[in-house]
Symmetry: C2
Subunit: 250 residues, 2 copies
């Protein structure tokens, strides 16, 4: 056992925290400050310089990018005969807030997150607190251990045991029905309106807007009208932060 490992696990003033983190991540973290930052929601962060806070938002930016790259490669190799539209859609299901929130809970990251309960209404299903922390942890692992390690960690510790890609592949995330259900629940009027091509666009794309109580909440375009509606519904779900359907379903 190398000395640094002995130090971290048995001698460091942070040893209790490091051991607990090791149980979750499966490896001994090196730079513990990175992980502490990854779990710090902006509601409890302090300003460090020039108005920038020591919250997890910067690490989330980095982790989001690294995760996107690792998942892109995985899907590229896993589906050699699928086009980039398929790959893009499947990746966005894998890295969706809903999925990352669930992963975060499964791994037990929720026990590490620091946040100010007076400022944010967590736990609730519309919160992205868990998924954000998940991405920030990926950023921390990357800064701590590099790309190759993070890639292995994601593939072997997270994706293989916890993500059922083939199920996600066949599961249609039905944004349209999710949105319609939400509108029914809250007594909102919803319309999918096909609009003319924008000026300068002579393509045969369908342009569809989702209009809820008279306001445009989403827009989509595709060569297929149903797909354009789906895209518009997805945008509206994003805008209105309608992540999970169970919360308001009858």
């Amino acid at each position: 056992m190398p000395f640094s490992r002995i130090y971290y696990l048995y001698l460091s003033p942070n040893r209790a925290y490091i051991r607990k983190l090791k149980n979750v991540l499966g490896f001994v973290p090196g730079n513990i400050k990175l992980y502490k930052m990854a779990f710090r929601h902006k509601s409890v962060a302090k300003t460090i310089k020039d108005g920038v806070k020591n919250s997890n938002e910067r690490l989330e930016f980095l982790g989001d990018a690294v995760l996107g790259s690792v998942v892109a490669e995985l899907l590229f190799k896993l589906y050699p005969y699928k086009d980039e539209g398929f790959l893009t859609e499947l990746r966005s299901k894998i890295v969706s807030r809903v999925n990352l929130n669930q992963l975060s809970r499964k791994l037990g990251l929720n026990e590490f997150i620091e946040y100010d309960a007076r400022m944010i209404s967590y736990p609730n299903k519309q919160s992205s607190l868990l998924g954000d922390a998940f991405e920030a942890v990926i950023g921390a692992v990357y800064m701590d251990k590099g790309y190759a390690f993070t890639r292995e960690f994601l593939l072997n510790r997270i994706i293989k045991p916890h993500v059922d890609i083939h199920m996600l592949e066949v599961t249609e995330t039905n944004f349209k029905s999710r949105l319609i259900e939400w509108c029914q629940h809250f007594g909102k009027e919803i319309q999918f309106v096909q609009v003319a091509n924008p000026p300068g666009d002579s393509s045969k794309l369908f342009h569809v807007e989702v209009v809820i109580d008279g306001e445009t909440c989403g827009f989509g375009k595709d060569f297929n009208k149903k797909s354009a509606e789906k895209l518009a519904a997805e945008k509206a779900c994003e805008l209105l932060k309608i992540f999970e359907v169970e919360e308001f379903s009858r």
Copy 2:
């Protein structure tokens, strides 16, 4: 000189192509098929299986992700006291179609691209042909040589010599004036309309739509009204494929 290198440069039936490519990329490519695919626009691609074509679109998906990750790390380290909003905005300037098209031209990738001139109107400034091929080449390098190599290649061969990050930082990509100018040029009526919050959203965000000739072409929201307009204009520029202002400027 290792034998594989001698073979590729002097003996392979592809040696002329490989040498030319080496001059552009700065290294001897390994799997030449990947690079040929990276330069193949879908207009000249053949269907290989299950309707999937051997075009550069899949590699573009992969390269886009790898580029995003490398640039994210670069900015994360280069700007330790900037928040994630700044990092996100600067990254999107660096990986914008305009910038990638320019990089592609600077590197001379245009000489390699295969496309069907009857099907796409290239060269024109609204085409994303060059930038798409640039991303696909990144994907090819990644598949050929791995992440560490691709990262070094991007940082030392592409970004350091060709991308002026600090200039991009201060250059305001003024989507609003670009869009207004475009509308004037084509005699379109443009309005920025502030709309009420969507149902369920009680935040103090400003919601702004760009309406061109009566049709919503973009939407933005921000705590600052000007920023919401800027975001809406950016979306509209994206939708209408208004990449560069010179083309229609007076």
